[in-house]
Amino acid sequence: MIVNQFLMLGAALFAMGVYGVLSRRNAVMVLLSVELMLAAVNLNLVVFDRAFRDELAAGQIFSLFIIAIAAAEVGIGLAIILLIFRNRSSANVDELDLMKL
Amino acid sequence: MGWFESGWGISLIVFLPLVGAVVVLAVPKAQEELQKAVALVFALVTFGLSIVLAIQFDYGASEKIQFGTSREWISAIGSNYTVGVDGISLPLIVLSTFITVLAIVYSWDHWPEPHNPKMFLMLILVLATGMVGTFVALDLILFFVFFEVVLLPMYFMIGIWGDRTEIRIPVIGKVTEMRLYASIKFFLFTLFGSAFMLLGFIALYFRSGPAGDRTFDMVELAARSDLFTGSFAFWVFAALALGFAVKVPIFPFHTWLPDAHTAAPTVGSVLLAAVLLKLGTYAFIRISIPILPQEALNWAPAIGILAVIGIIYASLACLAQTDMKRLIAFSSVGHMGFVMLGIATMTSIGLNAAIIGMVAHGVITGLMFFIAGSMSHRYHTREMSRLGGNQKLMPIMGAMLGLSAMASLGLPGLAGFWGEFMALLAAFTPNAALNAGLFRTLMVIGAVGTVLTAGYLLWMMQKVNFGEPRESWDGVDLHDVDKFEMMAWVPLIVSIIAIGVYPRIVTGATNGAVVELIKNAFGG
C-alpha cells in the first residue's frame, strides 16, 4: 500500500465533486456533489493521519468534525432549498438570478 | 547542353509561362480553343524543361547549387538576379510545373462563372511564374518579388471566379459575397505578413557587412550567419517567421485559408493548396534556418507547439464542418502542422520529412480539391448532409475520393504517410540543443492527431460516398469522371502511389542537401 493510491483516489473524488457542483442544475444534486468533496477531504485527512502516525490523531478528529459540520450543512441547505422551492416552485440553480442587474 | 546548365534553363522554366500569358493575351477573345491550346503548350514545355532539369541534376551533389547564375539586377541596393537549384527546391519546382499542367488540363472543360477563359489561363500562367520563381530565387529581394507575384493572380482568381454565396462576416456583421470577403482577407492577411518579412530582409541586409559589402544573397548571408546575434537576430527571425507563418499557415494565422479555399474556384483551390502553401515552409528551410540558425533553435519550441496545436485544432475544426470543401481546407492546416513539426525539430530527418510532406500534401490535397470541385459542380451543393451514396452514383469518382482520403489520413504505401511518420520520428530526437522532453510530448500529441485526422476523413467518406443515394438526385445528370478529369487526376494518383511506395523519388534529391544544410547551420 502506497500513500499515493489513497491520495489520488481522494483527488479524483474531489474533482468529481467539483464537476458535479458545476454541472448540476438541481440544487439538491449540487448539495449531493458537495458531499462528495467533503468525503474526499475526509479521506485525505485520515490518510495523512495514518501516514504520519499522528500522536494526537488530529486527522481523524478533524474528519469527525467535518462529518458533524456536513450534517449541519445538509440540514440548513435543504431547509433553504425547501424555502426557495416553496417560493418559486423550482429547485434549479440557474433560475436563481435575481442578483443580476 | 551548356546553355541549359548556365542559368538559362532555370530562367526559361520561370519565365516561359509569363511569355505564354502574353501570347494568350494576344489571341483574340473568341478563339477559346486556341487560348487553351497555347496555354497548355507553354505549361507542357515548362513541365518538360523541369523534367530535363530533374534528369540533368547531379544527385550525388544535391547540396550544391546547380544550374545557377547571377546577373546584376538592381545594383543600387546590391540586389542581383541570382537563381539556382539544389536538392531542396528541385522536387518543389517539378511539383509546381506538374500541377500547373494539370490545372490547365482540368480547366479545359470546367469553367467557373463568369466564363472568360483567356483571363483565367493568363492568371494560371502568371501564377506559375511566381511559384517557380520563388523556389529558384537565391536573392532575398528577388524572392520577395516572386513571393508577391503569386498573390495577385490568386486574389483575382478568388475575387472574380469565386463562390457567390452571401455570408455575414463575423464581428463586422456586414453581409457580403463570400468571394469578396475571402479574397480581401487572403490578400491583406498575406500582405500583412509580407510587410514584416520585407522588414526582416532589409534588416539582414544592413547587418550583413560594412557599407559596400552588403548583400541580399542567401548563400552569402548563410555564410555570414555569425554576424546575426542577440536581440537583433531574435526580432528579425520573428519578423520573417510571421511572414512565412501566414503563408504556411501556422495556427493562429490560418483563418484566411478555409475562407480562401472554400471561396476559390476549383483550380484556384488546387493551386493554393498544392503549391502556394509550400512557399512558406520552403522559406523556413531556405532562409530562416541557414541564415539565423541560432534563433531558429530558440524559436523551434514555439513553432513546434504551434504546429501541434494546429494539428489538433484543425482536426477538431474539421469534425465540425458540414461543407466538404471547407473540411478539406481545414485539413490542410493540420497537414502543414506536421510539416512545421518536422521543421521545428531542426534535424535532417525532420527537414526531409517536411519536404516529402510538402510534396505529398501538394499531390494529395490537390487531388482532393479537384474531386470536391467536380462533385460540387455536379451536385450543385457542397453540404455533406445532402450528399450520400456517391459511390453508387459515380463509382470511379467515389473510388478516387476514397483513395485520396486514405492518402490524406496517412496510409502507408501512399504519399501522406512518410511526412507524418518521419516528422513524429524526428520529434523523438530533436536537435541536441532543443528540449527533448518537450518534443517527445509534441510527438505523442501529434500522433493522437493522426487518429482525429482518420476520424474526420472517414466520417466524410461515410457521409458522401456510402449509403443509398437520396431520391433528390434521381433525375439529375450525374456522369462519372469525364476524360479531362481523368487526364488531370490519374497523374496525381500515380504520383501519390509512386511516392508512397518509393519515397526515394523525393528524398533521393533532398537528403544530401538537407544533411549539408543541417551540418552548416548547427555544426557536427
Binding site: - | L188, L411, T450, Y502, I518
Partner: protein, 683 residues
Amino acid sequence: MPMLALLATNANQLILATEELGEINDGGLLASLAWLIPVVPLLAAFAIVFFGRRMRYKGWELAMGAMGFVGIYGIVLAFATMNSEITYQGAITMGEFGPLVLEWGWMVDGLSSMMYFVVGVVGSLVFIYAKSYMAGDIRFTWFFASFSLFAGGMLVLVAAPNLIQLIVGWELVGVASYLLIGHYWEDHDNSSAAIKAFLVNKVADVGLFIGAIIIGTTAGTFRFSEILSQVAAGENDLLKKFAFLGGLALFIAAMGKSAQFPLHVWLPDAMAGPTPVSALMHAATMVTAGIYLLGRMFPLYFVEGYAVDVRPIIMIIGALTLFLMGLIALVQTDLKKVLAYSTLSQLGYMVAAMGAGAYTAALFHLFTHAFFKSLLFLGAGSVIHSVHSNEMTDMGGLRKYMPTTFKTFVIGSLALAGIVPLAGFWSKDEILVSFGDASGGAANFALYLSIAGAFITALYMTRAVYLTFFGEYKGQGTPHESPKMMTVPLVVLAGFSVVAGLINMPGITAWFTELTAVRFTVMGDHHPTEINFVMAGLGLTAALAGIVIGYLLWSKDAETQQARDTFRIPVLYPLLKRKYYIDDLYMDGIVRPLRGPVARSVDWFNGHVIDLFVNGAGALAKFVGKYVYRFDQSGLDSAITASAAATGAGGSVLRLLQSGRVQQYAVMIFAGTVVLVAGFIIF
C-alpha cells in the same frame, strides 16, 4: 550477416549465452525469392481492380492463383525452415532520411514461415469457399480485390524485417479490414462498423508509431535482428532506459489489432462484413498480428533490464479479455457474434501466454486456433448461407438438413473447447502449464481466469451447437446443404483441427517448437518436456463440465430451448448484454462529445475569436481611418466621443461576467484557484 546472439531458455529460466551460432543457412534461392510472397497478392489486387471484371470468373482466378501460390510457397518454406533452419533477410533501400535509411525487405525464419503457412493455407481454403459464398454479389470483383489487398498487407507485415515495414503492413491490413467490413456500405450500420474498426485500430496505431519510434531510435536501427541482438547483448543503456515505455506502447498496438480489452470493441462489430472475411481476417490472421508483434519482439519483454515490467500488464489484460469476453459470448443470439466473442477470448489466451513468457505456447495456440476458428466461421457462414439469417433464434434442427456442416462444426467446437486429442487441447494445455510455471500474482490471476475461461468456452460452444443444430427448425423456407465448394474447405479444415495439435505434444513431438525457435536472435522454447497431468486434468475437467452443463441447459426440446436461451441473471445479464457498457462509454464519453460540442466549439472559436482579431483589425483600421478623417475635418472633439464610446463598450463586455448565475461564479473561483495554485507551485 549481422552479429548473432544466442538466447536459450529452459522451461522456467532464461539463460543468456552469447555464443556465436555456427554456419547460418540462408536458404538459397528459396528464401531469396520469398519477396514474391507479399508482392504477388498485392499485384493481384491491382490487377483485379483493373481487369477483374473482364475475366471469366470476374477476378477470382487471379486472387485464387495468388493465394494458392502463397499457400504452396508457405508449405514449402515451413518444411524447409524446420529441416534446415533457414534464417534469411533481404532488403532494398527505399529512401534516406538523414541518418535513417528506409528499407523494404523480407525475412524468412521460423516465425515468419509459420505465419506464411497459416495465411497461405487458411487463405486458400477461404478463397475457394468464398467463390461460392459470394456468388452473385454485386461487388464480387471488388471483394476479391480487397481480399487480395488484405493478404498482401498481412504478408508485408509478416515478411517485415524492420519495424517501419511492419507499420506499413499493419496499416494496409487495417484499411483492407475497413473496406471489407464496410463491404455492404449501403447500410449505414455497416459503414459505421467499418469506421469503428479503423478508428480503434488507429488509436492503437498511435502506440505502434510511438513504440516503433522509441525502440528504433534508441536502438539506432529499425531492423528486428539488430534490435534484438542489442537486447541480447545488453549493452545499450539508452535502449534499456526506454524499453519499458517502448514495450508498453508496442503492447498497446497489439491490444488494438488483437482486440484486447478495452480496445476490443471493434471486433464484434466487424462481423458486419461477409463471413469469409470474418473467417480469414477476424479469426485466423489479421487479429493475430498483435500476437505476432509480441512474438517478434519477445526478447525485449523477456530479458531482464528491458521491458519485463510490461509482462504483468500483458498477463492481466489478456486474462481479463479471455474471461470477460467469454462471458459475453454466453448471451449473444447472433451466431457470428458468439464466434467473435469466442475469438476475443482465445486471443486473450494468446496474449496472456505471451505475457507469461510462453512464446511457443502462444504461437502454438495461434496456429491451432487459426484452423478451428476459421472452420467454425466458415461453418457458420454455410448455415447463414442457407438460413439467410444470423440469428440463432431462426435456426435449430439443422443437423438433419446440413450433415457435413454439422459434423465439421462439432469437430471445430470440440477443438475450441479443448477436448483431447483435438488441436485446442494441446495448445491450451501448454498455455495453462506456462501460467503455472510463471511466478507472481499476475500469473496466478491469469491461471485462475483461464481455467474459468475453459469452462465458459465449452459452455457457450455447447449452447451454440444446440441452438443451431438441434431441436426444431424455426426459420423461413427449407434449409439445404451448401455446395461442394463450400463443404470441401470445411472438411479440410476439420482435418487440420484434428491433427494440428499433434505436432507439438509435450514429451512426444516438438516440431512446432523447433520451427518457431529458428530466429536470428534465437531463444529457447517454452515447450514442456513432459505432460503436466494436473494442468491437463484441470483444463479438461473444466471443458467437460462446461459441455455437460451446457447439455443440461440447452439440450431439451424446441419450446424450452427458446425459454432457456435467455437465462436472465439480474445485474449480470444486462451487464453482459450491454457489453459492460464499454461501447456506450466510448460513444457517449469520447466520440459524441468530440464530434459534437468540442468540435463545434473549436469551429466557433475559429470564427468568433481568432477572426475577431482578424476582422477586428480590419474594422479597427476602417474605424480609425474614419476618425482620423473626421479629426482631420473637425478637430479634437471626436477624441472625447471616442473615449466615451470605448468606456461604454468596455463596460458592456465586463457586464457579461456578472450573470447572476452562482455556478458561473463557482467556475471562475475554481479555475482561479487552479491557476493561482499552479502559479505558486511553478514559480
